[in-house]
């Protein structure tokens, strides 16, 4: 079980770095098509920032900041975005994940619609990957025994 480390140095440095790491992760997600990155890599970096927070601040503080339910909710939200966009394209007459059909709803020319579609897909993938990384790490670090069960 990861008890909160009483070392102020690592805690403060992690506290200073975490927001910037998360912003960098979002940058990597958003700029998938011109610079290296995309949904998957961005999601892993986002997960890594939460893992860093969990390592340095211990389990209790982490549950206050990112409750267990939120992680699973975010994962399913990602999946919803991913398949949602795919299905809407299907409903609009194109085949699955054919973004140009989205231009009908977004009142935008097909090229823009494709860009928007790709962005949406990458966001969905990133959320799903982040949730996966986090829940795996939560379960391994606690070994499945949550604080309530111990008491």
């Amino acid at each position: 079980m990861i008890i909160s480390s009483d070392d102020i140095i690592i805690k403060t440095i992690a506290r200073i770095f975490v927001p910037f790491i998360q912003l960098f992760a979002l940058y990597v997600i958003m700029h998938g098509h011109y610079s290296p990155g995309g949904g998957f890599q961005g999601g892993v970096i986002l997960g890594a920032s939460l893992v860093l927070l969990l390592i340095t601040h211990g389990y209790e503080e982490m549950r206050r900041r990112v409750p267990e339910g939120a992680v699973i909710l975010l994962g399913s939200l990602g999946l919803l975005i991913y398949s949602g966009i795919g299905l809407t394209c299907l409903l609009l007459g194109g085949n699955y994940l054919d973004y140009s059909q989205l231009s009908v709803i977004l009142h935008v020319d097909p090229a823009h619609a494709r860009a928007m579609g790709i962005l949406g897909i990458e966001l969905g993938v990133a959320f799903a990957v982040m949730a996966a990384v986090c829940s795996i790490f939560f379960d391994i670090s606690t070994g499945g025994i949550l604080p309530e069960d111990e008491k």
Binding site: I8, I9, K11, T12, I16, P19, L23, L26, M30
Partner: protein, 240 residues
């Protein structure tokens, strides 16, 4: 007519500020009379009183400060300054600033940040000079055939308080010649030194005073404190 009103108001303000200053100085004088242990707790109490008054305002200011820093970082990261990407940047920075507004500036009091930043920027050249010296020291030790190393472990109590000053002190110790911060127990810093000479430099506490100077822990009366105290006493006065 307004002028006299203004003068009265100014008088009241100065009197309150004066009383507040005396009260704060009085509190801290009684603090210094006690032993260092109780003094530390006494100062903690003073901080606690002042912190309450300052808590609500700093929450929002933290959020705005974090947002601005994150948006600057985003603009730097993505070279594209067209409307769509800047809009994305604003949205992302807002989300993360909201999620982690209390992470970055947890207990730095906003009133003094400008001064702390100026002094910190003045501190960086000294730190770089130190690390260059320490690297030549390591190079000399590594390259000399008989490696004159005589390691020692030193522990010393720090008189600094805020987290960030502890971090700066520990990292500076790690970067200066011949010493590494090994462990911190409560207020005890455990330092591994390569040889005696370096250990003695550390005991002089010259670096600790430098860090204390940066984070304004040396001068007892902070600008932020007087502001808070005056507000607290104004409420009390009105209440009476």
């Amino acid at each position: 007519m307004e002028v006299t009103l203004f003068i009265h108001a100014a008088d009241d303000a100065f009197r309150i500020l004066e009383k507040a200053k005396e009260r704060a100085v009085g509190l801290l004088d009684t603090a210094t009379k006690l032993t260092s242990e109780t003094r530390w707790m006494e100062e903690k109490k003073v901080h606690a009183i002042l912190k309450g008054a300052q808590e609500t305002k700093s929450g929002f200011q933290n959020f705005v400060a974090t947002f601005l820093m994150l948006f600057g970082f985003w603009a730097l990261l993505s070279g594209k300054f067209d409307a769509f990407h800047l809009f994305l940047g604003v949205v992302c920075s807002l989300i993360i600033a909201y999620l982690s507004y209390d992470l970055l500036f947890a207990n730095v009091r906003v009133g003094d940040v400008r001064i702390i930043v100026q002094r910190f920027i003045g501190y960086i050249p000294w730190l770089i000079r130190e690390i260059v010296m320490s690297n030549f020291h390591v190079a000399y030790l590594a390259l000399s055939p008989k490696m004159p190393i005589d390691p020692k472990v030193i522990t010393f109590r720090t008189k600094l308080e805020s987290d960030i000053s502890w971090v700066t002190l520990a990292n500076s110790i790690t970067l200066t010649p011949g010493t590494i911060t090994m462990d911190i127990e409560g207020r005890e810093f455990m330092v591994h030194a390569l040889d005696g000479k370096v250990a003695d430099d550390l005991d002089t506490g010259e670096m600790e005073d430098r860090v204390a100077h940066i984070f304004m822990e040396a001068d007892h009366i902070y600008i932020q404190d007087v502001l808070d105290v005056s507000r607290v006493f104004a409420k009390l006065k009105r209440g009476m």
